[in-house]
Symmetry: none
Subunit: 186 residues, 4 copies
């Protein structure tokens, strides 16, 4: 059996993708605190399989959103190349907000202090904070926004403003984030 392993790997990868799709759907439907059993049921696998692939819930959340976080990370420099810093910042924040408000419960999870979410925090910050810092710095240097804004604080504010936005018709996070950005402008 010369290709026993490769095939297994392909299988495993396909399996993992099934898991991630199921988890994404479950997160959308019931938030990132959805019972593991529900995710397993959606994926058509046993709960043990979820745990095998993603020992902690944070691992699963990270995996589910990895592509979109990576895309966001890459979008920052790209936007800066094609736009003025302030426009780039605005558009990047827009994308970030789009991401957060459409993922039911994700913003809340990101702010959660509950143990077990540290890895999640860390991952998001590792990937996005430098990008955001670059955008802020560029806008400051261009004289388009005031200086002195801490990037972590700014990102946390964005995240916070997105909490629960998808479940509240009377609240449009984008509008308030627009006000926040206006407050940064010189």
């Amino acid at each position: 059996m010369p290709d026993a392993r490769p095939r297994k790997r392909a299988d495993a990868r396909r399996n993992e993708q099934t898991l991630l799709d199921a988890a994404a759907a479950a997160f959308v439907a019931s938030g990132v605190d959805v019972p593991v059993r529900d995710i397993a049921a959606r994926a058509g696998v046993g709960m043990g399989t979820i745990y095998r692939h993603f020992p902690t819930r944070a691992d699963l959340i990270i995996a589910v959103y990895r592509h979109q976080v990576e895309a966001l990370a890459e979008a920052g420099p790209a936007l800066l190349e094609r736009h003025s810093p302030s426009v780039a910042l605005t558009q990047w924040v827009d994308q970030l907000v789009d991401f957060l408000v459409t993922k039911h419960g994700l913003a809340a999870a990101l702010q959660s202090e509950s143990a077990g979410f540290e890895a999640l925090h860390a991952y998001f910050l590792d990937r996005l904070l430098p990008v955001c810092a670059q955008l802020l710095d560029a806008a400051v240097e261009a004289g388009e926004i005031i200086s002195g804004t801490d990037t972590y604080e700014f990102m946390r504010a964005i995240g916070n403003l997105c909490v629960g936005a998808d479940a509240d018709d009377r609240y449009d996070a984008r509008r308030m984030i627009g006000v926040l950005l206006a407050g940064l402008r010189t």
Copy 2:
């Protein structure tokens, strides 16, 4: 007979205050979802006592924060009498934020969609939304902030920005709320 049944009453009232203090402490320590058993233990009473005084969790939360909410409600008009609308707004928001960030988990509870918190939402909005609207309106009329801001949305943004602020050294909700207010100014 002004104090016909003074003893029971006095006791019960003292006890209720003990309960409220214990609940406040428990909320600070573990958020408003803290198990009833924990609150009872802090108060040194049985769980039944909590349920007797506060049939639902929302009742308890409202009672715990009633004084401070009332104070906030009264502070709005008072500030408007002594300051320009924009200063009054800023100072009122400062007080609101002080309140929210020092009550661990309160901001989160206020944004929570989970059933059983409706009464809590309703109470906070009933008392504070009109006050906030008055402040915003005055500032708009004075030409100090832009018009078109929805009061509910604004308050929700304030609340959101306070979520988790007390547990995160790197995040100062006041600073970001300052930026938000700056974004409203003409």
Copy 3:
């Protein structure tokens, strides 16, 4: 104060009757397992007052139904004087059934094996079993019913047939008790 005591007694008796009325109403509404608190609320007294007057639930049940049990006990001989034994038996059973089916939960309580109801069983049997035996014996002697029926067993059957009769539109205990009596006839 020469009549201090008598007045107190009158008060206490009036109070006790209030309790019994309230208990009777509560039993009708919610069965004899109704929470003590409900009875106290109906009576407009504290729960402690119930316990003072009727230390156990059985005491209360006995007191509530004492008058009607006594009436039943007295009805037996009276019926025998005016009717043939078989008619007397039938009419007495009718009265017993009327009593049992209109007291929600009483028949069930009488059959209940749960501790604390022994006094209740004992009281009912003490008062009614001899009466019932007299009626059965007379009917046997008159050759109107078969001999050999154990009185306790017969009464228990009557009681059992009444269980739940008031809550089930499709079940008429009187009809089945009629069949049972028919089964005894020679």
Copy 4:
């Protein structure tokens, strides 16, 4: 592959039988209202296991008694083939009574008005009422018993007469049910 997944299945089935045995024993000892924890303890399993197999208490009760109910349902036609209707009816009722009096608390549960037992009532009636009706009808047609007896009422009477029979040495439900049947005879 007739036994594709034999192991789990076999285990689970054995386990389920253990549960049913434990539940049956617990029902005998403490009635069908016995705490789930007690059943779990008897079975040597966690409470969750009970809930997994039998989401509601009615499910568990039905499962515990299913075999015997089915046997009773099948016994009716079989008896009619080999006996006169009246003998068949008597023997079937004997079997029903044997079943009920040996299951402590079952008869009581069947008469219980408490919510959550509807499914139980429904199951017993679905299976046994048609059988009983067939037996009664046959006996009526044969002129062996009087007509006009409602099957539901008759079954309920049987059930009622069995309540508490196992816990009372002085009460023999069979004897009284014999009298009831005698009352039906022409």
